[in-house]
């Protein structure tokens, strides 16, 4: 066995990491399904899902991608990315999110082709059983202001 292979097999077991990923995937899906069924509050549901997602991502990055055993050069290529991601969020989020009062119709509103009315509640706009709102007979939205093009 070469030095690298011996080094890897001493430092982590691929089977254990795979077993952990499989277990956490099952727990994550279970959390999501149970959370929706028992109506967990949003922070609890999303917090649990994000915890499992980042835990699995960490295992893949650190062990499968060998990041734990790499030097400072490789780590310095990846470490700035979380900060850059926060910059993206920081610049975009305030302009769009939670600004319903600034929008005539919220993002996601659709025009029902059958009635010409604006459907603001997207959950009413499409149905898995019968497609668009034109077929579902959804009530027209109570939108105000002029419709933008």
């Amino acid at each position: 066995m070469s030095h690298d292979a011996e080094h890897d097999s001493k430092h982590f077991s691929a089977e254990k990491i795979f077993g952990g990923l499989f277990l956490f995937t099952m727990l994550e899906v279970g959390w999501g399904l149970v959370g929706k069924h028992f109506a967990f509050n949003r922070p609890m549901l999303w917090g649990g899902l994000l915890f499992f997602a980042f835990l699995k991502g960490w295992l893949i990055a650190v062990y499968f991608m060998h990041l734990k055993f790499e030097g400072w050069v490789v780590k310095s290529l990846i470490l700035p990315t979380p900060f850059l991601i926060m910059v993206i969020f920081g610049y975009v989020m305030p302009d769009v999110a939670d600004k319903e009062t600034r929008l005539v119709h919220p993002v996601g509103s659709e025009v029902d082709p059958a009635t010409g009315q604006v459907v603001e509640d997207m959950a009413k706009g499409w149905h898995p059983d019968h497609g668009s709102a034109a077929h579902s007979g959804a009530a027209p939205a109570a939108g105000t202001g002029k419709h933008g093009e």
Binding site: T25, F52, G57, L77, I85, V92, M122, W126
Partner: protein, 209 residues
């Protein structure tokens, strides 16, 4: 100057003009290929962050976002996630075989990884076909447009990964990789694990939130 030259290692020879020549690599302490692939993966992180970030921002701005579990087949996709995670493990086994210089092992584990990746793409294509039959196309609403963009780009990355792994498999078949020289397998593995990592996050955000 002669005393300084005398302290040099015996194998270092000074040319006729007596400037010392040192035999060392002034580059970064990592292979160039590995440096390049990590730099590429950093750009891919930003690419997917833009897509996922746009999804989160748009979802925050909507009055009501449809329940993904009502519109999407979460169970089938959970199985698909398991398939991709398994293929990632198989890729690790292929790299371990490469580090041992086990050519047969590389071929077996790589072939299994390629099969796993192909299954993932196949299941995703099947899911797309079923959704399109129900009329769920990108222009229907923002839920579907963001869904198709994010999962579509990821699926494209998986297809590229499968093609790359097939090329690596043929290189291994020709005996290109040894215990000391297996960088090609390692670089393909890094890309494949990254694709798996992105799917882990996408599955959570798109299907379970």
């Amino acid at each position: 100057m002669s005393e300084a030259l005398a302290t040099l290692e015996p194998e270092v020879e000074a040319p006729a003009h007596h400037h010392p020549v040192y035999d060392y690599d002034s580059g970064p302490p990592v292979e160039r290929g590995k440096f390049a692939i990590w730099l590429f993966l950093a750009t891919e992180v930003m690419f997917f962050s833009g897509l996922i970030g746009a999804y989160i921002v748009l979802r925050s701005a909507t009055k009501s976002w449809p329940d993904p579990q009502e519109r999407l087949a979460v169970n089938i996709t959970a199985f698909n996630t398991f398939v991709l995670i398994t293929s990632s493990w198989l890729m690790v086994k292929a790299l371990f075989a490469a580090k041992r210089g086990d050519r047969g092992g590389i071929l077996r584990w790589l072939a299994a990884t390629i099969v796993g990746g192909s299954c993932f793409v196949g299941i995703q294509v099947y899911e797309y076909i079923q959704l399109v039959k129900e009329g769920a196309i990108p222009r229907v609403d923002i839920f579907w447009s963001t869904f198709y963009v994010m999962t579509g780009f990821h699926g494209f990355h998986v297809v590229v990964g499968v093609i790359w792994l097939i090329c690596v498999w043929f290189c291994a078949l020709n005996g290109r990789y040894t215990a000391k020289n297996h960088l090609g397998v390692e670089l393909a593995g890094l890309y494949w694990h990254f694709v798996d990592l992105v799917w882990v996050l996408l599955f959570t955000i798109v299907y379970l939130f």
